[in-house]
């Protein structure tokens, strides 16, 4: 359990080997969707309140208010009433996010009455705060009708597997599924497999990259090798932790009969930075794009301002810090520059130039997010080119890289979509040849998934 965070995580063993199997078994006692929703809500309450049960009151309150704001934004007779509903939702949800996630800010500003004695972060507060805004926003924009059944909204707001999937699963995408869904054998199979693969991504690949990163970016022993490989490992660890948790969430959703949109697209360097920004955590990007960018496509100034503002807000959503603010702004600026002229210019050059530019831009963006202070960033940047360092690598860095070399290679191969496509198409051809091949493949899949589960569990215990 993370320090200060109330609730379970998908990767907690008590969840995987306790709550999850019990929930799956109980869910099958009855076929009706209402029953499934009830079990889902009850499980989610246990999931969120593990370690701090009173947090549930906060959940109830926000759902009730979002329900009311939704009605106001949808059915308000006058425009100012509809506006009020939307604004209230933004204010309430963003206040919750700031008060709970960035409480230290109040301590620094001297606002004592808003400062908590202990660090207290209800799990997923960032997600359900944004989900509340997205629901009321969609109602306000008339994309969906306001929900009259508060239980449906409650299922949407508190279901634990919506937590890390998007982060924003739009209500319009799941409202039908909340009302009616079935769980088939295929669902169970796909859901379990995806959940375990996600678990392995987080606990095996994510942790391995993290160890290389820790050794490489240790400011007490910065070397050029450590600076380069450490930052690449940081990108790898972020990628696998985020995609791993998303896979786990998608797997849990599938187990419950839900079908969500994918949150991560394969990384294609041909789209440059804009392509990567669009494909990485794309539901979050789409959400901000819908509200701040898409309506202003005809006006160039407003359009660019919308992109910049979206970048800043996304950065602040990741972390309420100056470095995340700069991180968001940096990527937004690159997107704007690419849209204005850089993309056309890069298209004229050999492809390799575009690839190098994209990789370096992402590399620097990751460094902006990683280093909290400018001094540290500059020290690292100099170390990249051997300035201020006397040695190429440290013993610790060398050992860590060698220790996790195979895993790192596997991780990099997984990140390259072309490799993935080739492997999948080959396996598919192999299985199509005859029934025996298909059987071999399916049994290997089952053995592989079981092995991954045991390995990830062992890694989780020793981590």
């Amino acid at each position: 359990m993370l320090k200060g965070v109330c609730g379970l995580l998908y990767s907690d063993l008590i969840f995987i080997y306790g709550l999850l199997p019990i929930t799956v078994l109980i869910t099958f006692l009855d076929r009706s969707t209402e029953y499934k929703n009830l079990i889902l809500v009850l499980t989610s309450i246990v999931f969120f309140t593990f370690g701090r049960p009173m947090i549930i009151l906060l959940l109830f309150t926000t759902v009730i208010f979002d329900y009311l704001f939704g009605l106001l934004a949808g059915y308000g007779r006058k425009k100012w009433l509809r506006n009020l509903g939307f604004v209230c939702s933004i204010v309430m949800n963003s206040s919750l996010y700031i008060v709970f996630c960035w409480n230290s800010l109040f301590k620094n500003l001297g606002i004592e009455h808003l400062t908590f004695a202990k660090r207290l972060i209800p799990l997923g507060i960032a997600f359900y705060a944004l989900r509340g805004i997205s629901y009321v926003g969609d109602v306000y924009k008339k994309r969906i009708k306001p929900e009259k059944n508060i239980f449906c909204l409650f299922t949407y707001m508190v279901s634990y597997h919506f937590m890390i999937v998007g982060p924003i699963v739009r209500y319009g995408d799941v409202s039908e599924q909340i009302r009616r869904r079935t769980i088939t054998g295929q669902n169970l199979n796909d859901g379990l497999n995806r959940f375990i693969i996600g678990f392995a991504k987080v606990m095996i690949l994510g942790l391995s990259f993290e160890k290389i990163k820790d050794a490489g970016l240790n400011l007490n022993e910065l070397t050029p090798f450590g600076a380069w490989v450490g930052m690449l490992a940081f990108i790898g660890s972020i990628y696998f932790v985020l995609t791993g948790y998303t896979d786990m969430a998608l797997g849990l959703g599938t187990l419950n009969g839900f079908k969500y949109k994918e949150n991560f697209s394969p990384i294609h360097l041909s789209g440059y930075v804009s392509g990567i920004v669009k494909g990485f955590n794309k539901l979050l990007t789409e959400f901000f794009e819908d509200f701040l960018v898409a309506p202003y496509k005809t006006n160039k100034v407003k359009y660019i301002s919308g992109i910049l503002l979206s970048g800043i807000l996304i950065g602040l959503w990741y972390g309420f810090n100056q470095n995340f603010l700069i991180f968001g702004l940096y990527f937004a600026l690159l997107v704007v520059i690419e849209k204005l002229f850089l993309k056309r210019f890069l298209d004229m050059l050999p492809k390799i130039v575009g690839y190098v530019y994209t990789l370096f831009a992402v590399f620097m963006g990751a460094a902006i997010a990683y280093f909290a202070s400018l001094q540290d960033f500059l020290r690292w940047f100099k170390a990249l080119f051997g300035i201020g360092t006397d040695y190429w690598w440290s013993v610790n860095m060398r050992n860590k890289t060698l220790s996790y070399l195979f895993l790192a290679i596997i991780g990099v191969l997984i990140m390259i979509p072309k490799v993935k496509e080739v492997i999948i198409s080959n396996l598919s051809d192999f299985s199509k040849k005859n029934e025996k091949n298909y059987s071999v493949l399916r049994i290997s899949q089952t053995v592989g998934v079981c092995l991954l589960l045991v390995m990830a569990t062992a890694s989780s215990v020793t981590a």
Binding site: L8, Y17, P21, L188, N189, S208, D390, L453, T457, V461
Partner: protein, 294 residues
């Protein structure tokens, strides 16, 4: 049967009955069809051709093959789900039950309204769960075995300790072994228990301190060994500060490790074994085995 379902069934069956492929062109009235003898499910999109038509029979074969394939896929899905779920259940049950019964709750975690509401109960429950996992050593060993496949170095926790004396990597490989090497039995002198002679000796720590070039390191060299009748330890240390000017990153410097040998004549109980970790002497120095957790 509901009206909607009946109509659906009739539509699909009518299509089969007429041997027509396009549902829109099917003018056969749904009510004329005897749905009681329907073979295919109402939601079936399968198109079964009439007998005697060659192309249609090929289509029929394809349909049968598809049904067969679906059945095989379903079978393997079932096997996969069953095996994985059974594995999860076995691990889950063993994690929950293979230990002292009720230890989660009874041992140090009292269940009451207060502990439940302030979250202490679930917090401790979670802590106890991780603390008392059965077969933890087995999982550690499994992870060590898996780690052979992870990389070239063979060990996850390998330390790159370069010996100052030999210039070679010290053969301390894992966290556990490192602890075993460094833990020394120390008898804490107490005034009530020990009345005999106490000898304070100092020896070098086997795993030395990791410093980089140009970093300061303080070496505490203990010169004196005193023998006293009292139980208080007296060790006079002369700290000297040196700058390491080596050419490679290495572990350098000596940290004193205080051990006390008790020669006693009057104590009745065995002195407890206490691990005294060496103290890092400057801000830049880190003790090797703590490094992994950074």
């Amino acid at each position: 049967m509901s009206k909607k379902r009946k109509r659906k069934l009739n539509n699909s069956q009518a299509e089969v009955y007429n041997g027509k492929t396009d549902l829109k062109n099917n003018r056969h009235k749904p009510d004329d069809y005897d749905y009681k003898n329907a073979v295919y499910p109402d939601n079936s999109s399968l198109k079964v051709p009439p007998e005697g038509n060659e192309t249609a029979s090929l289509e029929g074969d394809a349909v049968l093959r598809k049904i067969g394939k679906d059945a095989v896929v379903g079978e393997y899905n079932f096997i996969n789900v069953a095996v994985v779920f059974i594995l999860i259940m076995i691990m889950g049950i063993s994690f929950a039950l293979l230990r002292n019964n009720g230890e989660y709750i009874e041992n140090n975690n009292k269940i009451s309204t207060e502990t439940v509401l302030n979250g202490k109960f679930t917090k401790k429950l979670s802590k106890n769960y991780m603390k008392r996992l059965p077969g933890k050593q087995l999982l550690f060993d499994a992870n060590r075995v898996f780690s052979y496949a992870y990389g070239l170095a063979g060990y996850n926790d390998e330390k790159g300790f370069v010996s100052v004396d030999t210039g070679k990597i010290i053969g301390i490989k894992t966290y556990d072994e490192l602890i075993m090497v460094t833990v020394t039995t120390t008898a804490p002198p107490t005034t009530t228990q020990y009345t005999g002679k106490t000898t304070n000796t100092t020896r070098k720590l086997k795993g030395s301190v990791f410093v980089g070039p140009g970093q300061l390191t303080t070496t505490a060299k203990t010169k004196k060994t005193t023998t006293k009748k009292t139980t208080k330890k007296t060790t006079s240390a002369t700290p000297t500060t040196t700058v390491f000017k080596g050419t490679t990153w290495s572990f350098r410097g000596t940290t004193t490790w205080k051990t006390t040998t008790v020669k006693t004549s009057a104590h009745t109980t065995e002195p407890p074994t206490i691990y005294t970790p060496p103290q890092a002497t400057t801000a830049n120095t880190t003790i090797g085995f703590e490094d992994d957790e950074q």
